[in-house]
Structure formats: structure tokens, C-alpha cells
């Protein structure tokens, strides 16, 4: 059952992925400027060698099919700007950094968001509801690139509690992950509250209460599974958002992750690195969504049988 579903989803992925590769490839190539623009002073001969080395002297369609062929073998090609490094190597180094940042941020977001949302939903229209929900409103309307610098200002510059930037010690993880996770914590807390409030108004919650369960038991045993479904389905977009948000966070805190390579190589016209990182992002987001859908189906029996 699940296998069939997976195959179906992956079957859709292949043409979409091919489409994305094609669009990005030609978009980059048709754009003015090239990777060797800044090296104008090199002699035409060296330039020619350079172009030949990266097969830039071939017709575009040949380059395209060469790229597709390499891609099929998992080879994303050499970097145009980082001498002697392949895109695979760069990704291999940067991805774990970004993944770590993303996971810590998501953990923050879930811990804070779920706790605040649950408390608010159990005591609606009291200060236990108003205070966390007001904070979440602020959290939602503060973009990462505002939260980040403000956190640095307060915790690193004014008070020397945490490092300004870098990615070495565990203290380095705190500010970036808070920056990235905050908005999602805010959103998750609202979704949790909304979902739980909705569930609490359902007839079956009255049945659960009728059985003689305590309020806590009613919420935990009968409420959570349905009440957290909105949060689960939000995790797909949230992961995508965290991945994009990492572009800014990594640049604020000078973290050597994928996001920085993507932005940097886009500006430098490092064709293969842009392509490689962009494709990786697409794949990541696709698999995150797939994972979320599977978890959702697992939690909601009505979806599972459709």
C-alpha cells in the first residue's frame, strides 16, 4: 500500500525534476555574464583553455545533455569558482551544517510552539492564552532578518553572553537556531491552539469525558492525534521555510552552510554550484513534503484508506 503510494509520488517527481533542471539550466545560461567575467585580463588562450576545460566551448545543447548524463550518475560537476573542488564535495561539507541548523531550529519551534499552543487551548481566554498568543503574533510578524540582528545586538554585542557569529562551539548554535525557529514556533503555537480548540468542540471529546477520563487524559488520549494534524501538515511548508530562511540566517551568522554557497555562487555565476544547490533544495523540500504526507496518513485513518 505505502510502497505503491511512494512509487506513484516518485513517478511524478521525475518529470518535475527534469523540468526544473531544464529551466534552471537554460535560465542561467541565457542570462548575461559568465563565470569568467572577472578574469578579463587573462589571455585569450588561457580563456580558451578554461572554456574547454569546463566544456563551455561546446554548443549549449551538448552541454545540457552532458549535464543530464552526469546528473544521472550523481555527479554535479566541478565548481567553476572554487578551483579543484567538485560541487559534490562542497555539498558534502555544507549540507550537514545546514541540516544541523535546520533540525535544531525545528526542535525549538516544535517544543516552544506545541507547549504554548497546548496551554493556551486548555485555558482559552485567560492570561495563559493571551500571553503566549500575543508573543506568537509578534513572532509571526518579525522576519528572520530582524530577529537575528536584534538577538545579536542584545545577547552578543550589548551583553557578552553568546558569540556573534561562527559555527564551532555549541554556543554558536543558540542564536542562529533561535532566529530561524522563532517564527515557526509562533506559527506552530497558533496552529496547535486552533487545532486543539477545534478538536475540543467535537462530540467525541464529550464521549471521552463521559467515560470518566480526567481533563488531561481526554486531551492527551483523544485530542492530540486529531488536534495536531494541522501542525503536521504545516511541517512540510515549515521545513521548506526553514530551508529558505537559512539563506538569511547563515549569512547573518557567517555559517558555512548550503545557503551561503547558494547565494554566493549565484552572485559569482558559479553555474554548477548554483545548479547543484538549487536541485538539492528542490529534492530536500520534495522529500520533506513526502515524509509529512506519510506521517499524516499514518495519523489520520480516514486519509489512509482513500
Amino acid at each position: 500500500m505505502i510502497l505503491k503510494y511512494l512509487l506513484k509520488r516518485i513517478a511524478v517527481l521525475v518529470p518535475v525534476f527534469l523540468f526544473v533542471v531544464t529551466v534552471v539550466f537554460f535560465m542561467i545560461r541565457f542570462a548575461p555574464g559568465g563565470p569568467f567575467d572577472s578574469e578579463k585580463r587573462v589571455s585569450p588562450e588561457i580563456m580558451k583553455n578554461l572554456q574547454a576545460k569546463y566544456h563551455m566551448d561546446e554548443p549549449l545543447y551538448k552541454q545540457y545533455f552532458r549535464y543530464l548524463g552526469d546528473l544521472a550518475q550523481g555527479d554535479l560537476g566541478p565548481s567553476f569558482k572554487h578551483a579543484n573542488r567538485s560541487v559534490n564535495e562542497i555539498i558534502f561539507e555544507a549540507l550537514p551544517v545546514s541540516a544541523e541548523l535546520g533540525l535544531i531550529s525545528l526542535t525549538w519551534a516544535l517544543l516552544i510552539g506545541l507547549a504554548a499552543g497546548l496551554v493556551a487551548s486548555m485555558r482559552p481566554n485567560t492570561w495563559l492564552d493571551y500571553i503566549p498568543m500575543s508573543f506568537s503574533l509578534i513572532g509571526i510578524s518579525l522576519p528572520t532578518f530582524v530577529i537575528g540582528p536584534v538577538l545579536v545586538l542584545v545577547f552578543a554585542l550589548w551583553n557578552d553572553w553568546l558569540p556573534v557569529a561562527g559555527w564551532n562551539s555549541w554556543q554558536d548554535r543558540i542564536l542562529p537556531s533561535l532566529t530561524l525557529g522563532m517564527a515557526y514556533a509562533a506559527y506552530i503555537s497558533r496552529l496547535t491552539r486552533g487545532g486543539m480548540m477545534e478538536i475540543r468542540s467535537q462530540d467525541f471529546m464529550r464521549t471521552a469525558k463521559m467515560k470518566g477520563l480526567s481533563e488531561m487524559q481526554v486531551v492527551v488520549r483523544h485530542g492530540l492525534k486529531g488536534g495536531l494534524l494541522p501542525v503536521i501538515s504545516y511541517l512540510g511548508p515549515a521545513l521548506a521555510g526553514i530551508i529558505t530562511g537559512a539563506l538569511v540566517t547563515e549569512s547573518i551568522f557567517h555559517i558555512p552552510g548550503l545557503g551561503r554557497f547558494f547565494v554566493e555562487s549565484a552572485v559569482n555565476r558559479d553555474y554548477t554550484v548554483v545548479m547543484g544547490t538549487a536541485l538539492l533544495y528542490f529534492a530536500l523540500i520534495f522529500f520533506c513534503n513526502l515524509l509529512v504526507d506519510i506521517v499524516y496518513a499514518f495519523l489520520d485513518p480516514r486519509v489512509r484508506y482513500e
Partner: protein
Amino acid sequence: MSSSITLTMEKHLATTSVAEEKGSSLWQDAFHRLKKNKLALAGAIFLLLEITIAVLTPVIAPYSFEEQNLEMTMAPMSAQHWLGTDSLGRDLLTRLMYGGRISLLVGILASLVSVFIGVLYGATAGFFGGKIDNWMMRIVDVLYALPFIFMVIILMVYFGRNFVLLFVALGATQWLTMARIVRGQVMSLKEKEFVEAARSIGVGDFKILTRHLIPNSLGPVIVYLTLTVPAVILEEAFLSFLGLGVQAPMASWGTLISSGVEAMEIAPRVLIAPAICLSLTLLSLNFLGDGLRDALDPKGARD
């Protein structure tokens, strides 16, 4: 099965709701409900004020937005420069006002682009239904999973930071939900009696679509539009922060925040002023959008 008592009660309910509909139109009702929502009202007032300032900026701005005064760099707040000056000696308040103009303009234009694409696409899918609809919506599903912002970044990098390209590209990232909403509306509306009536007297497809279906799905479109504007403003600020959006000497709140970060150690106000402007605007738009949604859809409204 049900006794005649319940039947009379149902009749009673039916007659009262008809009477209410006659009393005031949907839009009047909605406006009335919106007025009662204090947060939405505050948001609306704030936005009106902001738009007025943005429109009048060239007239009322105290200084020129690009004129540098290198003898007055990073001047603190004073009677001359209410918010002080930046690292090139430009008046921060003036920069903020012009920045707001750009941010709001991009937000509104890009949202209109998204409405245009979304309504056209959604209405077509919903109107024709069947196979066409099936395929069109499947494409939307697939596109949903793609992170458009990467495309926009690549576009901005390679095709220059062109203002028109900026809002068209941002608008193009936001039309998917709009298309879904409009499609749903059109799907349900086209089964309604007044559409059948129009069709029976020989009104053509295109006219039914433009005269009946699209105008009647306006409510949800407006609600979603108010929620799209902050999303776009945020995206523009995001790009500008990365140095990929609006180009100097023009400024948007995003670029101001970006340069504020560089100077925040010396003068936090350079960061905080644009950050507050941006955040309050996003907050107001979200309040207004939520308020409009509740006002136009009383069934879904929270207590």
C-alpha cells in the same frame, strides 16, 4: 421521523434568515462586523496613514533620499534629523519614508500580479471542470512543492535587479493559493440558480465567467489579497536584505534593515527604525486580513 414541532421550528429558522438577508447586504454586514473587530480596525487605520504618508512623501519628506552629507554621518536623533542620519549622512526619516513607498508599491503591484494570474487560472479550471480542471490543479499541486524563492533569486541575480522584474517575479510566486480559492468558488457558484438562469437565456461562457462567477467570488479573493501583500513585502525585504532586491541609492525597508545591521553596534536606531516599520506593517496587514476573513465568512469566524 421528526415530529411536526421540529418542522415548524425549521420553517421558523428559514424565514428569519431570509428576513435578515433582505435587511442588509452581505457587504454591509461584513463591514459592520469588521468595524467591531478592534485589531482589524487599528490595522486598517495604521495602513491608511502609512499609505497617505507614502503617497505624499515627495512633498513632505524633509530631505532628499540620496543626498549625502559626509560631515553629518551617523548623527544622533535631533530636531534637524528626527531619526538621525545614516553612515553616508542621509536623513534616516526620509530614507524610511521613501523605503516605505517602495516596499508598499512592490507589495501591492506583486499582489495584483498574483491576483491576475490566480483568478484567471483558477476561474478557467473551475469553469471548465472535468479533465481540464484535473490537469490544471495537478500542476498547481506540483508547483506548490517547488520553492519559488530560489527561482526568484536566480532570476534577480542573472537578469539584473530590475524593478518590474522584481514584482512580476514575486507575484508569480504567490498565485497558487489564489488559484485554488477562485477555482473552489467558481466550482460551487456555477451550480447556483442564477448561473443556470443566465445560461438558459443564452448568455455565453465568457460573459457568465466575467459577469457572474468572478464578481461573486470576490470576497475570498480580497481576503487572500490582504494576506498576500504582507507575504510579498516580506519576500521583497528578504531579497533586499540579501542584496538581491532594490538597488542603491533606492531603498526599501529590506535594504534599510540590511544596512542597519552593519551599523547596529554604533547606532541601533538605524536597524530598529526600519525593523519596526516593516513589522508593524506586516502585523497590520495580517490583522486586517484575518478581520476581513472573519467578517466575510461569519460561519468560520472565531468567537
